[in-house]
């Protein structure tokens, strides 16, 4: 069984902090953070079905398209914003990251790594990658902007985002030795704590 994201980013989230989770899905991460860290959590989600699952968990969730911007949240004084496995689904990932860093000093971003060796192998054999982190076929996927670990870190450098912490995971969400020495090839997922200059 894979380890939950909460365990991985646990140390990055102070108790009782105010957190906004962009693309919160069914709200599992928010719910765990509320239960373990007593955070004030808000989710942003576009899919009505997932919103209903959030409501069922007793969460606060806002129905909104992240691509339309979210400048109006800047007055809410969030400590941390999270975007877990959603950045690649956006029309303008770089704009979303800029906006997130405007509304909170800390940002947690997780993304699937298209440079992971199994993705490369799929491409070598002439097919679009399908892996535990990228489970959907090319015609069903919501992903618009997939990138590699190196691509993402280059974007952070170009945009002036500071990478305060990073963790590289294998498909079991373990911090494997190989993933840590050569993440672009062996990590299936990157987990980042970003800040701005």
């Amino acid at each position: 069984m894979s380890i939950s994201l909460t365990n991985i980013i646990n140390d990055w989230i102070p108790d009782q902090s105010k957190v906004i989770d962009f693309g919160c899905g069914d709200g599992s991460l928010l719910k765990e953070l509320i239960d373990t860290k007593k955070i004030h959590g808000y989710g942003v989600e576009i899919d009505s079905k997932k919103i209903q699952e959030c409501i069922a968990k007793g969460l606060s969730v806002i129905q909104q398209d992240i691509d339309d911007g979210f400048e109006e949240f800047e007055s809410s004084n969030f400590d941390i914003s999270i975007m877990a496995s959603s950045i690649q689904c956006l029309k303008d990932p770089h704009l979303a990251l800029r906006r997130m860093l405007k509304l909170s000093n800390k940002c947690v971003v997780t993304l699937p790594n298209l440079g992971y060796w199994r993705c490369r192998a799929d491409l070598v054999f002439g097919k679009m990658p399908v892996t535990p982190n990228l489970p959907s076929s090319w015609y069903e996927t919501d992903n618009l902007h997939l990138c590699t670990i190196n691509d993402f870190e280059k974007l952070c450098e170009d945009e002036g985002f500071i990478i305060n912490k990073k963790i590289f995971l294998n498909p079991n969400r373990d911090r494997s030795f190989l993933a840590s020495i050569s993440p672009n090839l062996f990590a299936s997922e990157g987990v980042y704590l970003l800040g701005s200059k």
């Binding site: 009505s48 959030c54 069922a56 968990k57 007793g58 606060s60 109006e72 949240f73 809410s76």
Partner: protein, 364 residues
Amino acid sequence: MNIVKKLIHFNEGLLLESGSKLDSFDLMIETYGELNKDKSNAILVCHAFSGDHHAAGVDSETGQVGWWDQIIGPNKAIDTNKYFVVCSNNLGGCSGSSGPTSVNNDTGKVYGKDFPAVSIADWVNSQKLLSDFLQIKKWHLVAGGSLGGMQALQWAISFPDNLLKCGVFAAAAKSSTQNIAMNEVSRESIRKDVNFFDGNYIEHNTKPKNGLKAARMLGHITYLSEKHMDVKFGRKFQNTDSKVSGNVDYEVENYLQYKGEKFSDSFDANSYILMTKAMDGYDASANTNGDLEKAMSVIKCRLLIIGFDSDWLYPPQRGKDIQLAGMNANVSCTYVILPGEQGHDSFLFAADKYDEIINTFLES
């Protein structure tokens, strides 16, 4: 479903926001379902501008279906097998609660235009007395649409300890300039009716039916969306056999004529003016210098705010404003936007998962 209709008399005085005082007053209520032993399953629903206490089921005398019957009932979103649902006619209304058509005990005459101005906060205060009467300390949910949604929001602000959840649908934290403008056109058509007699029409044994009818016809246009009107009526001509009058050409005209006529038979003109004034005057942030965040910072319950895309009277952005202020104030609040085919009236119908979302919120 067990429908219980009751007129409750309150001997305690009620000081109104305007500074006037009602020495005693009546509230007409309906209840559905059974209150459980620890009185924890009670739900208060607040009606919209022209609604009344008859929220669900079929009235045995009039045969009329309740205004929120699609949402309230056995095995519906608000399940009366499980919850005890209460709806009261607002003070100043004309369906049994004290209002312009009631007799003023001081004068022995009907209040008419002299019934004091009421506000949404006054309604909430009167309903708090109703909760005390029913011995309900904490409502599981207070909810409503449109004006009723504003009232539900005011409940959360006025009595934060007395509700667990709050549903604010197709509503706003204050009426918009456009809302006030529309209401003024309605009021003007009533005032200019030759039978209005400066509000003293009851003494003249008449009523300003034409003005009331025109007011309602305008109202109906604002409750529907352009698309919905087009889908429902199009540019179809009204069948000659079913025309309400010779002047009618199109189906939409016939519809407005029919609805306006029916409404002007049953509704009181002074009530209409009073209710629209209450709506215009509402501003949840009135006591905090326009700071909605500050006004909402006292809220302890969870909020569910729903807006409908096709609603141009209370557009979804007005709901979003409430959500944002709530989030700034660390209030637990969810904002959902639904397509809602029926314009502002969408809050009345079980469509687009609206009922499912209400039910999920209720059960969470």
